[in-house]
């Protein structure tokens, strides 16, 4: 089959995903394959802005085609309003549990499995199943209908998506299946971790960013022939970066001359109270040691998904003259290129830092997520949050020794980024061109 047309789905995707899509689209263009972006519930400007940041030629957008799929917005708002109203007026959640009456002999919950525990507690699963249907199904079937119309209109050979969490995306994937359009998953972030092992397989093909990612995709019972190890397109973006050019660009955007020691502080997403709390604490701790210090510039980088929530109220305490809050959409890799050190909680940015050779302090924090075995390579310094003040003081006094495990760093990069050769996006484009042939992971 000759591939002519690929449709990329965007719905609350963070800018990393949009960048990846665009880098792949540029390579597809070279193979004479058209890319189309279906921007669900977002402004199409997000894609245009990202293309501009990547210095991609905007001229080809009209012929590539870019569609917006915002019809669901009013319905979404209405639905959300009705949901909240019902919730407030009737507190319907209370019906989910029927308190056990005193005269019923209680069964011991000690050795009960989760199902049995629900029974012991008199939890009404029927209630949540029927309620979910009542509230979500009308919207779902509406989305499917609209998605089906779009699929028939655009007639893509493949549909590419990054996040399966949103019902708009899943309804689109369902419509694609029903219309015999094959689905490619370009996972968000680092790709599926161990936690995703049990979710259903929604795509026909999976792009894997690293050998670590391949292992996790296999846990979804995806056949080897449908997994394509390509590397991560983000690494192409930083391959040719020149520090000088970034400094010029940075000066223009933030009016900051970069003649001081730069410490990059990468925050967690401001989407949950727990993260806001640790972000706020981190800024406060760094401020106590480096606040107003004329020799250091502290770059507070908002998480790349924060542009969606627009949430930055918690960073009011970044009030020092030498603290600069960097927008969520600014390229993280560019910041790494001009930074001397990075301080962060454990997240995938430690891999980017290793790739760019930036010394990193990672603050230990249990967010209940299962992270890859990043720590075992010894490429960053991991410390308890209680030791942060002491560590920062040592850095300030040039007494701190950062880990410099070069050999381990190579192995680390290979395991979590596959290759750093400016060809990841090209490999993905070639995979899309030849999915039928199959390239084994």
């Amino acid at each position: 089959m000759s591939v002519k047309n690929v449709l990329f789905l965007v719905r609350r995707s963070d800018k990393i995903s949009i960048r990846r899509y665009l880098l792949v689209a540029r390579q597809l263009e070279k193979l004479n394959i058209k890319s189309c972006f279906m921007n669900i519930s977002e402004s199409p400007d997000v894609i245009k802005e990202t293309a501009k940041e990547l210095n991609l030629d905007m001229g080809y957008f009209p012929e590539y085609g870019m569609d917006s799929y915002r019809i669901c917005r009013p319905l979404e708002l209405l639905n959300s309003f009705i949901y909240r109203l019902k919730r407030t007026l009737f507190a319907r959640d209370r019906y989910a549990v029927k308190v056990i009456s005193n005269d019923v002999e209680s069964i011991s919950p000690d050795n009960a499995n989760f199902s049995e525990l629900l029974e012991i507690l008199n939890f009404d699963t029927d209630f949540i199943v029927t309620r979910y249907y009542e509230e979500s199904y009308p919207r779902w079937s509406f989305y499917v209908k609209r998605a089906s119309d779009k699929v028939k209109q655009i007639k893509p050979d493949y549909i590419v998506y990054d996040l399966e969490m949103h019902s708009e995306i899943r309804s689109f994937l369902y419509a694609a299946k029903k219309n015999s359009v094959r689905i490619i998953s370009m996972q968000h972030g680092e790709g599926f971790g161990i936690e995703y092992a049990n979710i259903p397989r929604l795509a026909d093909y999976y792009i894997a960013y690293s050998p670590w990612n391949v292992e996790n995709i296999k846990m979804l019972q995806v056949e080897d022939k449908n997994i394509f190890l390509t590397g991560m397109p983000d690494t192409d973006e930083i391959y040719d970066y020149s520090s000088e050019k970034i400094r010029e660009e940075f000066l223009l955007r933030y009016n900051l001359p970069l003649n001081k020691k730069m410490i990059l502080v990468a925050l967690r997403p401001a989407s949950a109270d727990g993260y806001i709390k640790i972000n706020t604490q981190l800024i406060e701790d760094i401020g106590a040691v480096f606040g107003n210090n004329p020799s250091y510039e502290i770059l507070i980088k908002l998480h790349n998904s924060d542009y969606i929530t627009g949430n930055r109220f918690c960073y009011k305490n970044a009030r020092y003259s030498n603290f600069k809050v960097i927008d969520s959409d600014y390229s993280f890799s560019k910041l790494l290129k001009i930074s001397d050190y990075m301080i962060t909680h454990l997240s995938s940015c430690v891999v980017d830092a290793a790739l760019m050779g930036v010394s990193t302090i990672v603050i230990d924090f249990d967010d209940s997520g299962i992270v890859p075995d990043w720590n075992s390579y010894g490429v960053f310094n991991k410390i308890a949050s209680s030791r942060l003040a002491e560590t920062l003081t040592d850095i300030k006094n040039n007494r701190y020794s950062f880990k410099t495990a070069n050999e381990a760093r190579e192995r680390f990069i290979t395991r979590f980024r596959f290759k750093y050769d400016n060809n990841a996006a090209r490999r993905i484009a070639e995979v899309i061109q030849s999915c039928d042939v199959g390239v084994k992971a």
């Binding site: 959640d93 699963t125 979500s136 936690e195």
Partner: protein, 156 residues
């Protein structure tokens, strides 16, 4: 004797302290709760002698990915029910069911799991708290009944 006070605000905190003082109860533990998700919060942890849920093996539930880690288990529970109720193929597809699993896990089950960890490990003998007519209060009461915990009210 494991006595716990679940308080929502400073008013309940004062009542709890009065009860503790009057009954000369030592070794009691105060924790804060909320009637909105994530329910087991530390909003009163700034007050003297109010503990944090983390000290009782409950992490910040706003960050929990319980539904993802226990996907199969939750799917097993809700799908059985959904099969009886969801008549059309579109609603039975994994594309729709994923949303249901997320909803069940993130809105309800993760709190059940967290409270079970708490009750199982710390075996409270008395829990003082003022229930309201909402999901969280009913859940706590159900747990107390299941674990044979006595209930005290926060009244003067």
């Amino acid at each position: 004797m494991n006595t716990f006070f679940l308080i929502r605000n400073e008013k309940e905190y004062r009542i709890a302290n009065n009860i503790i003082e009057k009954r000369n109860q030592g070794g009691v533990i105060m924790l804060s709760i909320s009637d909105i998700r994530p329910y087991l919060t530390n909003q009163c942890a700034y007050l003297k002698n109010v503990s944090q849920w983390e000290d009782f093996d409950i992490i910040d539930l706003s960050l929990s990915r319980f539904w993802l880690k226990n996907y199969k288990q939750i799917e097993g529970i809700v799908q059985k029910k959904a099969e009886g109720f969801y008549q059309n193929e579109m609603a039975r597809s994994p594309y729709f069911i994923l949303g249901l699993v997320w909803h069940a896990g993130d809105t309800y089950y993760k709190y059940i799991d967290a409270l079970n960890i708490f009750f199982k490990k710390h075996r409270p003998q008395i829990v003082y708290f003022n229930p309201k007519d909402n999901f969280f209060s009913k859940l706590v009461i159900s747990f107390m009944k299941a674990y044979g915990t006595k209930h005290g009210f926060l009244t003067l």
